[in-house]
Assembly symmetry: C2
Homo-oligomer: 200 residues x 2
DNA sequence: CATAACCTTGACAAGCTGCCAGAGATAGCG
DNA sequence: CGCTATCTCTGGCAGCTTGTCAAGGTTATG
């Protein structure tokens, strides 16, 4: 929240406070992942604290969800940075991007049911600010090298591919495909979208 | 609801009851379309009735949403039946399918934010029972005639294309593309997915 | 017109969110 | 070790929403 407030000197939080915050975020990730409409009481119980303690750190339910998504985005970003998307051959880099996505979706199933926040207009969460640009950059590179066709805008392809992966993940969640099948179909379809030939 | 109950003789409903039901469904379509978390009171007010009248016809909020989706699915199905998907050349039929989808999404923006039902697992709404099979049949026909490549399962392609269209619609909703741009990108991408060459 | 179906009003219980104050516990500092 | 700021817990409260019920008024249908 106010961790990076420029004006205040790095206001030291007590150790147990940081522990509580971590436990709450973790419990929210798990509980909301399998039941997006879980109550604050449920989340607090899963974290081993009381409801008021949750409110002591997150002013509202939406704020908790936002913090959760921001933490997830940071993890996702770190995984993408570790995947050397900028150096591997474009088609391989694409496969690595998708692989990071699969790991991410397995860890944060909440993001398949973005049902939680009632009011907010912002589909613009931290994820959509951070992930698509990385993929767009990769696609642009592939289009430059001629590995991908350039007749579709890279920004659109990036969002389309991310949407495709979510569709594939939904297939798995609905029991209409195994994880392996979905990953293979998603990769093949992604390559088709980018205009790269599928190597089998 | 119980309109097609085999046992009971066609229990005639009073005219104003049918009028109320229609008004409620219409109000729910509009209000939930622009504010998915609207309360029952809001919907009732928009329909010109009281909240209890809504409950007189729909036992719960979820039941109302389900009825709404079922009505939407019936409309969608009628539009698809009128689009002669089974006779036109596959690529043209695909364009018609997408066109029907755009009209549908413009009329039922609720289905871009499927946030409503808290408890139920059913991502299997009436739409997913009815729309994908039509598209799958079309794709299978195109694969048979050689217009589309057959190396990806038609069932997967159908879901992927529907997901692609929702991604494109989200782009428009987020103001990142105009309607025309989104429709063009979606069509081109769909043809790529199916392996049909884009004719320009 | 008489009746059954429907609508409305008012009230109620239950659950969830968000807030506040006070008492208790704990970590970090001198 | 003891003190103090900080964190947590208990308990309660208001407001909103969902869902239900009963009583009485209204409308369509036969």
């Amino acid at each position: 929240m106010d961790l990076h407030d420029a004006a205040t000197p790095p206001r030291r939080r007590r150790a147990d406070a940081r522990r509580s915050i971590h436990a709450i975020l973790n419990a929210a990730r798990v509980v909301l992942g399998e039941r997006p409409d879980a109550s604050m009481e449920d989340i607090a119980a899963a974290a081993g604290v009381t409801r008021q303690t949750v409110y002591a750190h997150f002013p509202s339910r939406d704020a908790l969800v936002v913090a959760l998504i921001e933490a997830a985005a940071a993890e996702y970003l770190a995984a993408l940075d570790a995947a050397s998307l900028d150096t591997a051959p474009p088609a391989d880099a694409l496969a690595r991007f998708l692989d990071a996505g699969w790991r991410f979706l397995r860890r944060h199933p909440l993001l398949l049911n973005p049902a939680a926040p009632g009011a907010p207009r912002p589909n613009r969460n931290a994820l959509s600010d951070v992930v698509p640009p990385r993929l767009e950059q990769l696609i642009r590179r592939g289009q430059g090298t001629g590995d991908f066709r350039a007749s579709l805008p890279a920004a659109w392809l990036a969002d389309a591919i991310i949407g495709l992966q979510q569709t594939a993940a939904a297939q798995v969640a609905a029991g209409r495909a195994t994880t392996q099948e979905a990953e293979a179909l998603c990769l093949e379809s992604t390559l088709r979208l980018c205009g790269g030939e599928a190597r089998r």
